[in-house]
Symmetry: C3
Subunit: 140 residues, 3 copies
C-alpha cells in the first residue's frame, strides 16, 4: 500500500475544453508502481473543471463548449456577481455542473480509461491563467 | 487494509435511466469483508454515465430522462460532431453533466446508501450496447 | 495507513446553496493526523447535494440558485413524479446534476482546497429538513 501526491501547473489556455490526459499522466511516473488503485485529480479553482469524455474528434470538445455557452448565458439579468467580468459567474456555474475532481481506477500501472476516454480541462474564463491540479494516487 | 478490483458488463439497455444497484453489488461479494472503506464505480464509456438518485418511484427515472432530452436537444445547429448519429453528441453532453464515476462509502460490509438512494446507469444512446463498469473497493 | 469514518447531521436550511466547510471539517478532528490522503463527503439524500465552489461573495451562491431554478423549472408538464410537491422532482434533477459526493485531497492534516474554494450544501427542497453527510478519511 502506498500513497503518492503531486501537483502540476497547467499552462494558460483559452476558454473551452482541452484534452490534458498525457500532461497529467506525465506528472506522476509513480503510477507505474501501482498494480491496483485509484488516481484522484483535483483542480484548485472555482472557474475551471475536470471531466472525462471523448479523446478522438476535437469537434466533441467544441460542441461541448458551445452547449455550455448556451446553457449558461453571459449577462443574464439574474446574475448579481458581475464585478469580475461577464464571463465570471457563468464560469462558476459551469465548474459547478462539471465538478472540481475526477477519480479514475488504476490497473497494472496505468489509468484504466476506456478506449475512447480522455481527461478534459474545462477552462471557463476567457483569461483564466495557469491552473493547479493536485494528483493523489493510492493503491498497492 | 485491502484493495479489490473487478469489472462487470451491463447488458444493453434502451436510452434512459436504469436502476442497477443490486447488479453492481452482486459483482463484488468481497464487499462483505470491509468494515469501513470506499466503493468506486467507473464506466468506461463517453455516452453513458453513473449517478445516485431515488430508488423507489420509476417516474423519477422517466422524468430525469425527459428533462435531459429537453436540456440537450438532438439536431442543434451548433453541434458539428454528427457523423455517429443525432443521439451521439447529446449523449456526450449528458455523460459529461452526469459523470463517469461515483464513490460511495462502505460501512459494515455494505454500501452506506441512504434509504431512498440507488445507483443509476444513464444510457444516453438509443442503441448503446453493453457497458463495462470497473469497481474498485478499498478499506479495512 | 488509516481509515476514519464519521457522520454529521446538518441542521435544516432553506432552499439554496450554503457554505458548510467549517462545519464539516469540525466533525473530523482526526483530519490533523493525515499527512497525505483523501477526504470523501457523501450526502445520504436524493434532493440535496454537495459541491465545491467560491467561498467569498455570497452572491455567487445566490446566482447559482437562481440559475438552477431557471434551468429546472417547477411544474413542467413532462414531470410525472409530482405527489411530493412541485419542488420535489426539480430537486431530484438538481441533485443529479450536482452529485451526492465530493472528494478532496488531504495534505499536512488539512483539506487541500484552493484559496477561493469552499464546500456547498445544495438544499433543493423548500423544507428539506436535516441532512446526513458521511465523511470518510483515508491516507497515511
Amino acid at each position: 500500500m502506498q500513497w503518492h501526491q503531486a501537483h502540476i501547473r497547467l499552462k494558460p489556455r483559452p476558454r473551452g475544453f482541452h484534452l490534458v490526459t498525457s500532461e497529467l499522466v506525465a506528472a506522476v511516473p509513480e503510477l507505474a508502481r501501482f498494480r491496483v488503485g485509484l488516481a484522484h485529480f483535483f483542480i484548485q479553482h472555482t472557474s475551471a473543471s475536470l471531466n472525462v469524455n471523448e479523446n478522438a474528434d476535437p469537434d466533441v470538445r467544441g460542441d461541448l463548449g458551445r452547449w455550455f455557452d448556451r446553457a449558461v448565458p453571459e449577462g443574464a439579468s439574474y446574475f448579481h456577481h458581475t464585478a469580475e467580468g461577464s464571463d465570471d459567474m457563468p464560469a462558476h456555474v459551469k465548474s459547478t455542473l462539471l465538478g472540481a475532481s475526477i477519480t479514475i481506477p488504476i490497473r497494472d500501472g496505468r489509468l484504466a480509461l476506456g478506449t475512447w476516454q480522455g481527461i478534459y480541462l474545462g477552462e471557463h474564463r476567457d483569461e483564466g491563467g495557469a491552473r493547479t491540479v493536485i494528483i493523489t494516487l493510492s493503491g498497492e
